[in-house]
């Protein structure tokens, strides 16, 4: 017997699709605020305004739903980040990105952390499928950052030998670590320190002029 979780077919009617979407959106919200384990099917049922059977009509089990939430949040974050990162054409643009990240964290006083980071911390060790999906999400996010840095190399802002791969990973780790600390300390101090330190190092890699 396989331990693999079965996949459900996509809804074939538009009504079905709407219901499925409503469930995923509500689940994403609840899981962001209470964690995956902290989100019960009764609570989700009420939040999404569906009956319990709908949830299991569209998702094989809670793991399957969780994976849908990961996909949803990945998409949300990339959609939010990619435009900002695509036009990283100057050190100023990099600082603007920094400000957006920090302002977002400040808005809810550090609470919540990163939607992907929280899920990753909770699920990676015990849900291999979730872990794989989250690893891919982080890789895609890092790639988007790297793309931005590559732009800065391309237009001569950064030296050609700049290790954009490494810097992208360092920036992503700074975001994740900074958000995690913000969650505990209710301050964005660590997030700012981490981002500013990495960015300062990037400044030092700028082409002399």
């Amino acid at each position: 017997m396989s331990t693999q979780t079965a996949r459900k077919d996509a809804p074939s009617t538009s009504k079905g699709r709407a219901t499925r979407d409503r469930i995923v959106a509500a689940a994403a919200d609840l899981m962001y605020r209470h964690g995956a384990a902290g989100t019960s099917t009764p609570a989700l049922r009420d939040a999404a305004g569906v009956s319990s059977s709908q949830i299991y009509h569209y998702f094989a089990d809670k793991d399957d739903l969780t994976r849908a939430v990961i996909a949803f949040q990945t998409q949300a974050i990339l959609a939010n980040q990619t435009p900002l990162l695509a036009k990283l054409d100057s050190l100023n643009a990099l600082n603007a990105w920094r400000d957006v990240v920090i302002d977002a964290a400040r808005e809810h006083g550090g609470t919540g952390g990163c939607p992907l980071g929280s899920l990753s911390s909770e699920l990676s060790d015990h849900n291999p499928q979730a872990r794989t999906a989250l690893a891919a999400s982080f890789t895609a996010w890092a790639a988007a950052i790297r793309e931005g840095l590559l732009g800065m190399v391309g237009n001569g802002t950064l030296r050609p030998e700049t290790d954009t791969d490494r810097l992208a990973l360092a920036l992503l780790a700074a975001v994740q670590g900074g958000l995690l600390l913000a969650q505990a300390q209710h301050t964005t101090g660590a997030l700012e320190a981490a981002l500013d330190t990495v960015i300062a190092h990037i400044h030092d890699q700028a082409t002399p002029r």
Copy 2:
């Protein structure tokens, strides 16, 4: 009626203390591997070799136990880190610390993450007492790092105007973010990139010679 969780008195006999310690140690291990929510009292009962009533004899409820585990892990981490950080007298010593952190992560393939980081991600938003304790733990950890950097300022390795506070926070965030990503990606790449980038920036702050 108060929502505050009552504190239990410390055990008065040495046997009682041993039992309490055994419970905390087993709980710390289980919570590290399965999270706080993922650690059930039956599982803890078996792992610690006690009966369920013991747990509630020594701890008011699961929250109280969780706080004890936070204290336990904080103590464990500080005991492990402080000696290393106390003798940060050179850039080489800083790199040695980096190696220890990375080797530790590599040892279990990134699994588990940081005991404090994982608990923080899980508890900060919903358990104010745990959040406060964890915030204090992180502050103490950052202070230990800063102490080491101050040593390097004191002996002239780093410039006097070095912002050790900020760098300490940046290093801690790099550790937390790097470990979180290592958990998802099963690689220490991001951890290395983050630490090396911050450390490279510290190198640049070294006094010219």
